[in-house]
Symmetry: C2
Subunit: 140 residues, 2 copies
DNA sequence: ATAAACCCTGGAGTCTACTCCAAGGTCAAC
DNA sequence: GTTGACCTTGGAGTAGACTCCAGGGTTTAT
């Protein structure tokens, strides 16, 4: 059994964040002392680890809430359901990657065209591009 | 001269967003009518276009604030300064790309290991991986 | 007993980029 | 004149994931 500060140390998640997770139904203490202190069991540690791993692969807390409810009642859910969930997240990530790649290319192009020297910014090709939109390949 | 609604239509940026930009010192009306209506000139249109392009290459409004102040007093700034700014943004984007690629790989690995069929989630390798952290190559 | 560490709650704040609401004044077309 | 579109302001809300504050109770070690 752990008090909240002990659990925070054990998991690297702050007291406040633990309370936040509880408020959002991600974790729950096993019970309370007479003084109202939260008492957590090892199950909470495992739950937090699950949350940390899921966050690590890009799931939002809202996503994780769904995964946790699936995990809680595995017999009521299928592999198909979980995989669909994960595939949607993957698609999301791929979309973000595409957007960031576009941005990267545009920034690279801007940088290549700029001398980067001590000359006055009056002649700066980056500023000019932003002013005029004259960067055909970047869809500005 | 445009009123705010006209400028909104012209640029595709909402009235509220224009006021928000004004509040954040990104744009300013040329003046006000006696009734207090904002009146904008073509310079505001150009400024908003600049903002839109800069946003399009990943700059935050805070970044854009800096770029705009450079643009305003080009003679006080160098190409070097602008390029440094853009290079920092590029590094930022590259970092995000690296992180998203890591996440993508992890999600792909999770998905590959899962049959995705109608079987009970009791045996779901995705859930198991999140529970146990048993995904060596993904640094969960 | 004392002091410090720890805990509780409710509420508010941070960050970023908007978006909405309420109340009331102004402008343009009929 | 009337009506509807338009504008103003101040303030609050959204999304998501925290983080901080104030006031007060509890536990632990000295």
């Amino acid at each position: 059994m752990y008090r909240i500060g002990e659990l925070a140390k054990l998991t690297g998640v702050s007291n406040d964040t633990l309370r936040y997770y509880e408020k959002n139904k991600l974790i729950a203490p096993a019970g309370r002392t007479d003084a109202g202190y939260r008492m957590y069991e090892d199950e909470a540690v495992r739950q937090i680890r699950f949350i940390q791993r899921a966050k690590g692969v890009g799931f939002t807390l809202s996503d994780i809430n769904e995964l946790l409810s699936i995990q809680l009642e595995k017999t009521e859910h299928s592999c198909h359901e979980v995989k669909t969930f994960t595939e949607a997240k993957l698609a999301d990530v791929q979309q973000k990657l595409a957007e960031l790649n576009r941005i990267k290319l545009a920034l690279e192009k801007l940088n290549e065209a700029c001398c980067g020297g001590p000359e006055s910014a009056e002649h700066c090709s980056i500023l000019q591009a932003l002013e005029t939109g004259d960067l055909a390949d970047t869809r500005l």
